[in-house]
Amino acid sequence: MRPLTLRCLLLQCLILLMILFVVVVVAMKFGAVPVSLYAFGRDLLRFLFGQTSQISSDYGLILWNIRLPRILLAIIVGASLSVAGTSFQALLRNPLADPYVLGVSSGASVGAILALIAAPYFALPPVLSALLTPLGAFLGAAATIAAVYFLGRREGQIDSNTLLLAGVITASFLSAIIMFLMTTVTSGNTRGMAFWLMGNLSTSYQKSVFWFLGIGFFVAAGAIYTTATDLNLLLAGEKEAMHLGVDVPRVRLVVYIAASFLTGLAVSVSGSIAYVGLIVPHVMRLIFGSDHRTLLPTAALGGAIAVVFADTLARTVVAPTELAVGAVTAVVGAPLFIYLLRRGAS
């Protein structure tokens, strides 16, 4: 009988942080423009020691102004989607719940597109105008998960299969809306259909957006983390959790809002990247167990690793042409989804 300790948790996170660092270094080296290992290592050391002025300007531009921001974006998006997936799985008591499968990502996309279309009509200062997209995505995500939740109920209980079907149907309905909006209401600033349907990390953003994403992630993920032990008990059902002392309505509300926010955050900057919220929590559960005090931080780090890795593949496999990162995650995620579905059925 050895319960989880803080030291054990920190150790697990440290290991994942080191893996993330290695993946980030690899992701910075590989790309359409080859960077020699020696030059990269030299520049990396110079960067780490604050001697950025000595870095050659070509490499510097590619490494620090193009690749690094994109990697940072991948880290935040991956972590957000994984934490959202983990939360939805606990909240809906369904191991197959994931923002993409449940249509929440598509809902966030619709919200973001509507916000982009509507933005010019409000005379907002640029800073607020930039926040309109994630806000729209959050509202879209929250409305979708609420709809799927009610469609997935049968006789007052959440039915696992009905819920998944409701999610799949909602996702396809919302995809149709996305296509409709993209074909009919083109305002030139809506990033293209492939972005919203398959996900893409190639858009460059201003520094302020990164601050917003980073702070938003830590606030929402932190809020979910305060309910970590409650989520452990919720896995056994709401009634049982209540009898063990969980304030079920409060936990449900906190997790529902924060997970929708994280999905909206990720989708507003990268579109719908598939299955990350499904695969990563499952792998982490296999390695570290299903205690949410461990699962939430390890899933966040694992999600960051997975998306940085997937994006590196997307950039390099058929370079200089780029794949959508969502295509890479779907190729891995869809078979795993089928496997989990079959295992659950038996």
């Binding site: 056994a236 009898h243 002392g245 299903s290």
Partner: protein
């Protein structure tokens, strides 16, 4: 430290509760309707009984007689339409979920697991209400969980996975989790369901012992008339949402009364322990 003392509460609370009845169900009624504008589908008429620390109360009655509803009301999961339920002077429904879980432990019919955990992890869940939301389990929590497992005779299961133990073992582990809550009141909804006869006797025997050792008040909903007669101090007899009678088994176990409630011919005689024993008569006799 003996396992009994580790699970008992502080002495001041025990002595205070020794004066008054610990559990007091006062004229409690309830109505359930699917739609507020429609007539209720089910009603529970005013029900009253009291139970002291160390007592085992059995709620008996045919299906749909309101047994489980009464248990949910006592647990504070439902709000009564009228009347009130007091546990050591506090209205159970008004307590916060956390405070309620520190005083009342509920063992339900089924405990489903989405991701199976180890037995000891499952029992440690009982400590949730005693800690802050994000803390890690202390040595005391581990000790209490170990003692709880030992008290139900399941110490050897500690390292096993919850999906690899038998139904009887699982029921004992679920009971251990309830004990780890260190409650004043232990509520069980048909705990003997799906158990073989030896496991049923074993469970009731354990409950009887725990009630005496830890001064728990135990309320059990059950269909097992003979087990209830053997182990209960008080029986609450229910029929179609009405509480017909409350009292010791000897006063409740009367042939005419039980035949009328359960709608089947039966005989009642005294068993070797001096407690009543029911035999259901089939048509062939």
């Amino acid at each position: 430290m003996s396992s009994g003392s580790a699970l008992s509460r502080n002495p001041s609370e025990a002595s205070r509760s020794g004066v008054d009845p610990r559990l007091s169900v006062e004229q409690v009624s309830y109505a359930y309707s699917a739609n507020p504008s429609q007539a209720p589908l089910f009603t529970l008429e005013a029900t009253s009984f009291q139970a002291k620390p160390g007592e085992l109360v059995a709620i008996l009655g045919p299906n749909a007689s309101g047994k489980s509803t009464l248990l949910k009301l006592i647990a504070g999961a439902l709000a009564p339409l009228s009347g009130r339920i007091l546990l050591n002077g506090f209205v159970t429904h008004s307590l916060t979920p956390r405070t309620r879980a520190q005083r009342i432990a509920v063992v339900q019919q089924e405990s489903l697991l989405l991701f199976p955990s180890r037995v000891w992890e499952f029992v440690l869940q009982g400590r949730h209400a005693h800690g802050r939301s994000l803390r890690f389990e202390s040595d005391d929590d581990v000790m209490i969980a170990k003692n709880a497992l030992a008290q139900v005779g399941a110490a050897d299961l500690s390292a096993r996975s919850m999906d690899q133990i038998s139904g009887g073992e699982k029921q004992r582990v679920i009971l251990a989790r309830a004990l780890a809550q260190q409650p004043l009141l232990l509520l069980l909804d048909e705990p003997t369901l799906h158990l073989d006869i030896a496991a049923q006797v074993d469970l009731l025997h354990t409950l009887r012992r725990l009630a005496a050792e830890n001064r728990y008040t135990v309320v059990v909903v059950t269909h097992e008339l003979n087990l209830a007669a053997e182990y209960a101090d008080q029986v609450v007899l229910m029929q179609r949402g009405r509480c017909l009678r409350v009292g010791p088994p000897s006063s409740i176990y009367q042939r005419e009364l039980l035949e009328q409630v359960f709608q089947t011919p039966l005989t009642v005689e005294l068993g070797p322990s001096g407690r009543p024993r029911v035999t259901v008569l089939s048509d062939r006799q």
